[in-house]
């Protein structure tokens, strides 16, 4: 796999151009054709080592793919596979399923893993698991006999509920009753970093989608004429677009830094990811609201493309831990060395 990110992005864009985003319904829950095209091009294994069955390339390549797909509202579990489940399965020493088959990820603390014969079984309910209804395999962060554990299991035959996020992306509850799975124990740091990695994956998606929503809105403001001139020539509209840009630049800068922290194996990666998720989530309110305001009524329709991303923004900000959850994790971590440690921590995390 070429590591040239521009090339990777161009390849993904070419593939995406043949797969316009569509309204997800229970009858059409994901973009299977897009997934197949990406898999055929080797793009569903990028960032995962070849010896483990991946396509090679580094984290930056995988992030570039995830960003491109997020800005195209692609209904495929690539973020979960490339940034969360894939790396976690490999790090835990489990066998990575074939990367041509979708692998997803869920946090399921209430699911318990129990040794059974030569293997393990899982019992409990895993709530709101992204793409579980369409993926071939799922990796779950569960509770084992001695703490956290990573479980990997096929989805065929699982009892998966019909659930969807605000964008219609499948989010199922999995009911597990002594269900066989491969399981590997995780220490506290590994479990913390896995949660943070999931949050960072969503932050990356949010960052790309926020940028795209801004770009669409700027473009629309240049094309739509009222009172004899483009909307973008009105100062009131310019102020709104500039405010959106401020939010988008802030999110991009912090998300990039958190990805760098992950790439460098920083000890503070969990806090960096927490901060990126909080900042990205906070930007959604401003950017989605103003994007819809500038687009006017047409942007409120199903016919217009805007909702493909704004509905994802409103969903993703609460997935993999909301701002409420991560802001507490972040603040507790920053204060870990006491009140005078706040500033040193702020200058260390990213």
């Amino acid at each position: 796999m070429a590591t040239d990110q521009d090339l990777v992005v161009e390849t993904v864009r070419d593939i995406l151009s043949g797969h316009e985003p569509f309204v997800l319904t229970p009858a059409r829950r994901w973009d299977e054709g897009l997934w197949s095209a990406l898999a055929s091009a080797g793009l569903t294994g990028v960032g995962l080592p070849e010896e483990a069955g991946g396509s090679g390339g580094d984290l930056a390549d995988a992030v570039a793919i995830v960003r491109t797909l997020a800005s195209g509202a692609a209904a495929v579990p690539v973020a979960e596979q490339l940034l969360v489940a894939g790396p976690a399965v490999i790090a835990a020493g489990l066998t990575l399923p074939p990367v041509e088959e979708p692998l997803t990820f869920g946090i399921a603390d209430t699911v318990t893993a129990t040794p059974s014969g030569d293997g393990w079984t899982l019992t409990g309910t895993a709530a709101d698991v992204s793409w579980a209804a369409v993926a071939a395999h799922v990796a779950l962060l569960v509770t084992g006999p001695d703490g956290a554990a990573l479980a990997l299991l096929p989805t065929s035959g699982l009892d998966a509920s019909d659930g969807y996020n605000l964008a219609g992306e499948p989010r199922s509850s999995l009911t597990l009753a002594e269900t066989p799975a491969a399981v590997a124990p995780l220490n506290d740091a590994q479990a913390r970093e896995l949660r943070a990695g999931f949050a960072l994956a969503r932050a990356v998606q949010l960052s790309a989608a926020l940028e795209q929503v801004l770009a669409w809105t700027v473009q629309y403001a240049g094309e739509r004429h009222q009172f004899g001139r483009p909307l973008g020539k009105f100062q009131a509209i310019q102020m709104e677009l500039a405010e959106m840009a401020g939010e988008v630049v802030a999110v991009t800068a912090l998300t990039d830094a958190a990805v760098q922290a992950l790439a460098h194996g920083s000890a503070d990666v969990a806090l960096a990811a927490a901060a990126a998720k909080v900042r990205a989530g906070a930007a959604v309110e401003v950017v989605a609201r103003l994007a819809h305001q500038v687009h006017g009524a047409i942007g409120f329709t199903q016919e217009h493309k805007l909702h493909h991303l704004t509905r994802r923004l409103w969903s993703w900000r609460d997935e993999a831990g909301s701002e409420l959850v991560w802001s507490r994790v972040l603040a507790s971590g920053l204060l870990a060395d006491g009140p005078d440690g706040l500033w040193p921590a702020l200058t260390r995390v990213v």
């Binding site: 940028e211 801004l214 770009a215 700027v218 403001a221 240049g222 973008g232 020539k233 100062q235 509209i237 310019q238 102020m239 677009l241 500039a242 405010e243 840009a245 401020g246 939010e247 988008v248 630049v249 802030a250 999110v251 991009t252 800068a253 912090l254 990039d256 830094a257 760098q260 960096a272 927490a274 901060a275 990126a276 909080v278 900042r279 906070a282 701002e323 409420l324 991560w326 802001s327 507490r328 994790v329 972040l330 603040a331 507790s332 920053l334 204060l335 006491g338 009140p339 706040l342 500033w343 040193p344 702020l346 200058t347 995390v349 990213v350």
Partner: protein, 386 residues
């Protein structure tokens, strides 16, 4: 997104982390010795020449400037770390702030060799302070409408008449870089005919009148020029190039950590309150505000890295200042929402004092250095809308 808004990520600088540790140790010692106490917005209100000279002795002023002018030839990233530490500690840095941030760099770009030799080493020593002479009583956001006038006399000197306002700490400063009209305004080209003069504030004909801010504090001034004779060689840069030169200063003026850390001492006090209370609502707010600080640092660091590459990213600087100064003010309301605290300058509670200082200075955050409305107009231009 438009490329004019996006800068490359800043590389991690080991040298910056090293000098950061030195500054942190220095500040801890000074605080312990009682040489200063922490306050909000000290880059406006904390004038302390002795402290500025100490920073000069440590080599923390004029850090990026050439050694032949007394500078230290260090990177903008190192300077960033130093300024950020000083602001976070609420140290008294106002005396030298403008000279170190933008007047010195302006002299390096446009000054004559004589001006550089005479003035820069004194700035580096923490002994020579500058004011910005841009706004006037009738020219605020519309800077091109200035009327302060400089006319050559028979000796080739400039005779200056007019008035500048909001000149921070002019009563404690030595020089001003003053934007003047050197030719009559031309409605066809509003940005033509302006020049920058380097003016010694002790010259006859200059009157400095205090303009007190709403809490009675004396930081701002009106500087009146009445037939002030400025030597002809004190023209800075080119005659008629004033608008361009002023614009070039803005990346320095608008992008630094002082555009989001003015109220950091309030956030630090709030952090202490959170540790004491363990209140989850307060913890949440601290996390949200911290995420904003972390994002702003990355934005501002990217500009420091761009300065190191020799760029002058004015549009990203305007964006950082808009987002950063909005944050400075938001800290006040976010803290109030979850902490029951009475703002008072004489409160026994340090959180109450910090809140009071922040509140009374808050209106200035989104005005000084270009209002946020003007900044958003610049960002809109960066988005291709103008």
């Amino acid at each position: 997104m438009s490329n004019s808004l996006v800068l490359a990520p800043a590389p991690r600088s080991e040298a910056a982390e090293q000098v950061r540790a030195e500054v942190r140790e220095f500040l801890a010692d000074e605080l312990a010795a009682g040489t200063f106490s922490t306050h909000v917005d000290t880059w406006l209100s904390g004038v302390d020449p002795a402290f500025s000279r100490k920073l000069g002795e440590r080599g923390w002023l004029g850090m990026t400037w050439p050694k032949k002018y007394g500078g230290h030839e260090r990177s903008a990233m190192e300077r960033y770390a130093v300024t950020e530490e000083l602001l976070a500690a609420g140290a008294p840095v106002a005396a030298h702030w403008i000279a170190d941030r933008q007047s010195g760099p302006n002299l390096l770009t446009y000054g004559t060799e004589k001006q550089r030799q005479e003035i820069l080493p004194r700035i580096v020593a923490g002994e020579c302070y500058f004011v910005i002479g841009m706004s006037e009583p009738d020219s605020g956001s519309d800077l091109a409408s200035i009327r302060t006038k400089a006319v050559r006399n028979g000796d080739g000197d400039w005779v200056v008449n007019g008035a500048k306002v909001w000149t921070s700490n002019a009563h404690e400063s030595h020089y001003g870089i003053v934007l003047v009209r050197t030719s009559p305004s031309d409605s066809a080209n509003r940005h033509a005919g302006m020049s920058q003069l380097l003016i010694d504030l002790s010259l006859p004909g200059i009157t400095v009148n205090p303009i007190r801010i709403l809490d009675g504090g004396h930081h701002f001034n009106e500087v009146v020029f009445e037939d002030v004779v400025v030597p002809g060689d004190m023209l800075l840069g080119e005659e008629g190039n004033g608008w361009h030169q002023v614009t070039a200063e803005l990346a320095f003026e608008r992008s630094g950590p002082e555009r989001f850390l003015s109220t950091y001492p309030l956030l630090a006090e709030f952090g202490r309150r959170v540790v004491d209370s363990g209140d989850p609502a307060q913890l949440t707010v601290l996390g949200r505000l911290s995420a904003r600080v972390l994002a702003l640092r990355q934005m501002s660091l990217r500009i420091a890295a761009a300065l190191d590459r020799g760029e002058l990213p004015n549009i990203p600087a305007a964006l950082v200042k808009d987002v950063g100064t909005t944050f400075e003010a938001d800290v006040i309301e976010e803290v109030r929402r979850v902490a029951d605290v009475m703002p008072s300058l004489d409160s026994p509670d340090p959180l109450g004092r910090a809140l009071a200082e922040a509140q009374l200075h808050q209106p200035g955050f989104t005005l000084r250095g270009g209002t946020n409305e003007i900044l958003r107009g610049i960002v809109a231009r960066g988005l291709g809308l103008r």
